[in-house]
């Protein structure tokens, strides 16, 4: 009884924090002056501008997912399977952009290209001017977001490669060289995962707001945010968010069906067996230089430029004065969100693995959907749900931000812990049950300790995502509850470039410390 109660409560938290806002947002978009009406949607379909926005959103998402997939998969193969030197360090460097708020990468690249930027030391003025002219708009947005989302296909490729049964590759290696083995055996086996990574990039890009907003590229999410924050046209903002939510939902359903048909289960590695590694031979130094140059160009140079333009102690003193409180709040909210999500993720993972309640699949799909829909959609939904006289204690406090975190990042904690639970034999729990341990005792004394590392990794991963969150926080933050990414974003309009760079560096350092710990945990595993 207590088991069902707790598992249902965990599922309910997900539905209240995520599903309820989306539904209530949809409901409110159908109301005009208190009456039922489709006018908000009719306006969208009849306005030429809205179609242009949709085209821009889809173009941006398509180009970014294409580029990040075509770069991320080869990088994943090189860093996950080949004998390239310093692969851990290179992977960490390439992952930095996804760990920081995306607009910081946009600011960094802008800094590089600016008149005072670091690139002026290496490039002639006319080249810089030309690059700078093309930066604002589609080109810059595609470049920055491809850099930001490149780690998704790259990391997924690395993880998926670890799940391929080694003997499938060994059997192929007996008759074929590595390129043919990768083309005919390895890549087809991990294709469902790669498709998921491309779709994830596509939907995340579709909802990305801060980068197109900074680079002045008009897309649906920017328009939706403008309608909401500047004009406060709730109905229009909601209606404009719905196409993005519907596209995200349709793509995830299609992906789920495709994956189910094409899923090739792998056996875990028998202890003592080593996976085959691709020996790069003579091309090893060249490929190392190529990957290093890429990491240097798309990550290190922009961040160095940020550092270069904030090279003054007084900037950091001012940054701490202006945003010290926001930084502390960010850490506290992220700590709270990550701790709650570690518990919720553990319970959800248990529910999904053991199919403990009838809606276990819904829990799984919903959490993925809530991660994929634009943060602005979720943010507007949260306000539509909680902005009423009876729930002001949620709406006007940090609770609304934490609820946003719970909904958006639930999938990260549940999937990380689920992968660990799959490795624990059911007989561990059964043995404790036969010994007379109740469900709660089995969870606390058997499963939780066995999943300790996965829970810690999930906590840190969610902590990082909460810390960098901009989309939800920017929409829902109540007065006095600003987080650091929100404070930087709002200061960008009128703050001095030096201060903005200093604040961005503060954010980068705040994220890199926990990220390094997470990385250390991951590689030790």
């Amino acid at each position: 009884m207590i088991k069902r109660l707790i598992l249902w409560a965990a599922a309910l938290v997900l539905f209240i924090s995520g599903v309820l806002p989306v539904l209530s947002m949809f409901y409110s978009s159908l109301l005009l002056d208190g009456h039922f009406s489709f006018s908000n949607y009719l306006h969208i379909f009849s306005s030429e501008r809205e179609w242009i926005l949709l085209k821009n959103s889809l173009t941006l998402a398509f180009l970014v997912s294409l580029i990040s997939l075509f770069l991320g998969v080869p990088l994943g193969l090189l860093l996950g399977k080949a004998d390239i030197p310093f692969k851990r360090q290179l992977s960490l460097i390439l992952c930095i952009p996804i760990l920081i708020p995306p607009y910081i990468m946009a600011v960094s690249v802008d800094n590089c290209l600016g008149q005072e930027g670091i690139l002026r030391l290496f490039l002639p003025g006319w080249v810089l001017r030309s690059l700078s002219d093309h930066y604002f708009g589609l080109g810059g947005s595609v470049f920055v977001l491809s850099t930001v989302y490149l780690p998704i296909p790259m990391l997924l490729t690395i993880c998926l490669l670890k799940n391929v049964n080694p003997s499938l590759e060994e059997a192929a290696r007996l008759c074929a060289k590595w390129p043919l083995v990768l083309k005919e055996i390895t890549l087809p086996i991990i294709r469902p995962g790669l498709t998921l990574s491309a779709l994830l990039v596509f939907v995340l890009c579709l909802g990305e707001f801060s980068v197109p907003s900074y680079l002045r590229y008009q897309v649906f999410s920017v328009e939706s945010f403008t309608q909401f924050s500047a004009v406060y046209d709730f109905g229009s903002a909601t209606a404009q968010s719905m196409p993005l939510a519907v596209i995200a939902l349709l793509l995830l359903v299609a992906e789920s069906r495709y994956s189910r048909k094409n899923l090739f289960l792998s056996t875990p590695l028998v202890s003592g067996t080593k996976r085959l590694e691709i020996a790069l031979g003579k091309s090893r130094p060249y490929l190392f230089i190529l990957v290093s140059c890429l990491a240097f160009l798309i990550v290190i140079v922009p961040l160095l430029s940020l550092f270069y333009s904030s090279l003054d102690l007084s900037i950091y003193e001012e940054a701490i004065k202006v945003a010290g409180d926001a930084l502390l709040r960010s850490f506290f909210y992220a700590f709270l969100g990550a701790s709650l999500l570690a518990v919720l993720g553990f319970l959800s993972a248990y529910t999904i693995k053991n199919r403990q309640i009838w809606c276990w699949r819904l829990v799984d799909m919903t959490s993925l959907f809530l991660f994929a829909i634009p943060g602005t959609v979720l943010g507007i939904g949260l306000i539509a749900t909680w902005n009423n006289p009876w729930t002001q204690f949620v709406y006007s406090s940090l609770l609304i931000i934490v609820l946003g975190y719970l909904a958006r990042y639930h999938v990260l904690s549940s999937r990380i812990i689920l992968s660990q639970l799959h490795l624990i034999s059911p007989s561990m729990e059964e043995a404790a049950q036969l010994a007379g341990a109740g469900w709660l005792s089995r969870m606390v004394f058997i499963l939780a300790p066995l999943s300790k590392r996965a829970i810690m990794a999930a906590w840190l991963c969610v902590f990082l995502f909460c810390l960098r969150d901009t989309d939800i926080s920017l929409i829902v933050y109540p007065p006095g509850c600003e987080t650091l990414p929100v404070r930087i974003f709002t200061l960008m309009a009128n703050g001095s470039p030096g201060l903005i760079s200093g604040l961005c560096m503060l954010m980068v350092v705040s994220v890199l410390v926990p990220a390094s710990i997470l990385w250390h945990l991951r590689w030790r595993r």
Binding site: E170, A171, A172, C175, N262, T267
Partner: protein, 224 residues
């Protein structure tokens, strides 16, 4: 001349000594069974012969040619002309039975018409000619085992390594398939190295038996 020759082979895995100073010669056309308990180094020995890993000490020769030496794989697996039947069979799950066999021949650059003919003949030999379009997941355990065998033999290798391929099957099926393996070996004439911990399988299959324990060879002899 010996088909396979192992000279003073030592191998460590994760800092643990798995094989210690192994010397072994396998005659051409022999059916050698490596017998020993789990963890005694039988599979590691097969992986060394296949070229998936390099020895830490010693040398390996196949058909008189040095293929591995200390810390180095001299001849990569795809150039050794070896067939391998894995313990978990390792059938490529996204390919049909036909495609599983075709991949091997395609990788060797065999023309399409010849490939088709060879696969047809091989599937007839293992009694699977009607199942060529099936996916591995649509086959029974015994059928999957025969596909794995066909895939290992389709390129007509001179040496076939088998790592407990029958261990997951029931007793009747094991006996039946062991007979089939012997028949195929006699027909085609390949040298076979078969790993098992089952004495009954050893009795059925071996012309030469090597007993292993704790990474060393405890006994080596012709079957009477």
């Amino acid at each position: 001349m010996a088909e396979v020759k192992l000279k003073s082979i030592t191998k460590y895995l994760d800092g643990r000594l798995v094989l210690k100073d192994i010397d072994l010669e396998i005659e051409k056309g022999a059916r050698l069974v490596l017998l020993g308990p789990s963890g005694c180094g039988k599979t590691t020995l097969l992986r060394l012969i296949a070229g998936f890993i390099a020895p830490d000490e010693g040398e390996i020769f196949i058909s008189g040619k040095m293929v591995s030496k200390a810390g180095e794989i001299v001849v990569p697996p795809e150039e050794r002309g070896i067939g391998f039947v894995f313990q978990d069979l390792a059938l490529w799950p996204h390919m049909s039975v036909y495609k599983n066999l075709e991949f091997v021949l395609k990788a060797q650059g065999m023309p399409k018409a010849k490939r088709k003919e060879r696969i047809k003949k091989m599937l007839e030999m293992v009694g699977l000619k009607d199942l060529s379009s099936r996916m591995p997941a649509q086959l029974s355990g015994g059928q999957q085992q025969r596909v794995a065998l066909a895939r290992a033999l389709v390129s007509r290798p001179s040496l076939v390594l088998m790592d407990e391929p029958l261990s997951s099957l029931d007793w009747d099926l094991r006996a039946h398939l062991a007979k089939r393996i012997c028949k195929l070996q006699e027909e085609i004439g390949f040298t076979m190295v078969y790993v098992t911990h089952d004495r009954e399988e050893t009795r059925q299959l071996a012309t030469q038996v090597v007993v292993m324990k704790n990474g060393t060879i405890k006994g080596n002899g012709e079957k009477s």
